[in-house]
Symmetry: C2
């Protein structure tokens, strides 16, 4: 990652770095499956019409067209912009494709449907740290048919705490808010363009409270008192349910506000009990995307706040719908590439060796290759990753090859048919039987460990 | 897979089908790593110049452009076809991107470099059975710096036999030929456009020997005797090294032919010894792509020959080069999507259940959710995939939910704090301790088993 990508915004990893990423992906998958989430993948392309159905992300999309489109089956050929319905584009997240998948396959799925999805997504944004043009997301969502119990809002926060907690990363904190709470509050103080207020509040981190107050005044016609109240609400943070009293002290009455307060209280009280120190009620969290309708989540790595959120999501009441049937859901998305890039750049985690191989079986002479493969087969049968030397170079050269590749053990077969294995780090060499010998557990596979 | 893809050529799987695909991918990865191959991934896009450097695949490529390309950083905007050097396109295989990766990162890699790479690729071809527009390939290659011992040509065939042999698929056969053998033979009988002959021979399966003879005559000016000899060579098949004598009987003398014969003899003799019945010397195998220079491989599923090759590859002496440095390699690519589609369509393999979940923890009442999470945590800690019911519906309804999802066990907590677990398939219910109980090994995770 210290190397420069040959195509800006499209990072590629070296094998040892990829081991760190694989460890992250494997760990997330394991935890998601332990919680009963099924794997699915969706195609990389959607129609432009599908992608732009929600929100304004026009700029970020990569269009896809066949280079020589003879039969005009799909996509726009060079110079001919096709209708949005046919034009294909790479997906920019996994939520929109998942919504389409649910509607298309509803008859084959059991609801509430729990799925995880780990795939690349593409956005044509200007590359910078923490923001690539091609990156991997790991999403979990639960989607119901017509309705979805609120409890899933609590459960998904706990699954994410479990998943991130299993990774070799610094302490993290889920910061949770509720759209109903915020929107009800704004309505209660007389600011009816609640989406507009949310958009302004979303800029708090970037431009500060004074500029946000200005925005609220200039763009939404808020009075000084209204702007003050909205900022006051956004300043509330609590590691327990004390935020409820703090909101009540602001003296605003609204049914939707009450509903949101009750929901957020439920999430925070259960999550602080089961995952103390991992969650925070943060009433400044807005999340830009329009489709959230209740709980919203962000996640920061403590000490790495400038990186932005590494895991975000929320509740949506009707991201997907077909006819008059709605599919409400709640989900979160982990920014794997952003997180792994930071882990690698700051050596927060490293692989103990760059290759899977534990043992190199050396050759006495060129004719011994087949016998060496027998040794290798015996070791592999017991789960020990093994390579065989390709040529009968001098032993010193074969050992050097292992050393250069990071392989810890070299296997020798003596003329009398007995075997020895050498730990090339310590130099220790012992008699060994291909059907019995195993490396120490720590050397069996490359381990990914938290950095110094 | 029985369902129609909503976008032709872009198949998507249901959760139970995805389990079969995951099983294939996990198995391939495990075997590749046991043989010391490192995982890498390359970006999905390459520059068009890079993609078209070898061979003529212009038609098949999907170009990628930012929809609103304000700063002209990458890709061609609408209506402006950019130079091939800047225009981005989706990769159509993993070999070309790997060659670029090796050249770019040569200073950071230990040679011979062994890597596996499992990713999606895209081709704008007309979709048909066994041919999608988006599909997954699983590649292994070994690449050397300046030179690569021939032995790797033998080794890679054995790795593939190991990998495919670990899958729940029908018997398969690697069919192996050697470009040097074929080209030397053609040269030896006076046909100097050896690439042209190979291209004609490549059509044998599709158009038959008479048409191929016609092609050789009309397009390459071959005499009847030359066409006959070329077809005679292509008709040779042997499960052992007897092909050597059969070729010699044709009475052609050429140094390159001799070199190819010796190489193919080495591969076949070692592979038939270590993997009897799995390999065949098939002197009709040509492989279309120009960059192969020695051994070439194809693989058929026996009884499914019409599907085409499920794993192909070969030796290339200079796919990648930088200045006067060459990186010769040998590799094979498994067509995962093609193979999995067949496995699903013909039910050659199925998942024992559609979800990872082994246990649903039921709720006595709404307040027991947190206690139920404690039970679930205890089970998950021991690797048992567990969900908690979201609402305290009647037990019958909770059991029905488990049944509908394919979850085999439902957990109950009695008022006195004792626990019971019910196998909802047999109806058997027994006392259980969350810290001790485990499902039978066969029920721990969904198993993928060869079909009836």
């Amino acid at each position: 990652m210290a190397r420069t990508a040959s195509l800006s915004g499209f990072p590629e990893l070296l094998p040892a770095e990829r081991l760190v990423e694989l460890h992250v992906l494997d760990t997330l998958r394991r935890v998601f499956e332990l919680h009963g989430f099924s794997s699915i993948e969706t195609r990389a392309v959607e129609t432009l019409g599908q992608l732009l159905r929600k929100g304004e992300i026009d700029k970020e999309v990569y269009a896809v067209s066949r280079l020589q489109d003879e039969d005009q089956e799909t996509g726009g050929g060079q110079g001919s912009r096709q209708a949005d319905d046919d034009q294909l584009a790479l997906h920019f997240d996994l939520t929109v494709p998942f919504a389409r998948y649910v509607v298309e396959n509803a008859g084959h799925l059991a609801f509430p449907f729990r799925r995880y999805q780990i795939q690349k997504v593409w956005r044509g944004e200007r590359p910078q740290e923490g923001r690539a043009r091609e990156f991997t997301q790991a999403d979990i969502d639960v989607v119901g048919e017509s309705q979805l119990p609120f409890r899933y809002d609590v459960e998904l926060a706990l699954v994410i705490v479990d998943a991130l907690g299993a990774l070799p990363i610094p302490d993290f904190q889920l910061r949770i808010n509720n759209r109903k709470l915020a929107e009800g509050f704004y309505r209660g103080i007389g600011l009816d363009d609640t989406a507009g207020v949310l958009r302004s509040i979303d800029k708090l981190d970037k431009i500060g409270p004074d500029k946000v107050a200005e925005l609220l005044h200039n763009e939404l016609g808020a009075t000084t008192e209204q702007a003050h109240a909205a900022l006051k609400l956004a300043s509330i943070r609590a590691e327990d349910t004390s935020f409820v009293d703090q909101v009540r002290e602001l003296g605003v009455n609204d049914d939707l506000l009450e509903e949101g307060l009750a929901e957020l209280e439920q999430v925070i009280s259960e999550a602080t009990k089961r995952a103390p120190g991992r969650v925070l009620a943060d009433l400044s969290i807005a999340r830009g995307l329009d489709y959230y309708t209740g709980t919203v989540y962000e996640t920061v790595l403590l000490g790495h706040e400038s990186l932005g959120s590494i895991c975000s999501g929320g509740r949506y009441d009707s991201l997907a719908s077909k006819g008059n049937k709605k599919y409400p859901g709640v989900g979160l998305s982990i920014g794997v590439t952003r997180m792994v890039a930071r882990m690698l750049n700051q050596e927060l985690a490293t692989a103990s060796r760059p290759v899977p191989t534990a043992v190199l079986v050396s050759l006495n002479n060129d004719e011994s290759w087949s016998a060496a493969q027998d040794v290798a087969d015996a070791l592999r049968k017991r789960g020990i990753s093994t390579e065989v030397a390709a040529t009968a170079a001098k032993f010193g050269k074969q050992i050097k090859y292992a050393d250069r590749r990071g392989i810890p053990f070299v296997w020798f077969t003596n003329d009398d048919g007995t075997h020895e294995v050498k730990d090339i780090r310590s130099g220790e060499q012992t008699a060994a039987d291909p059907d019995l010998w195993s490396p120490p557990a720590a050397d069996l596979a490359p381990a990914v460990v938290a950095g110094s």
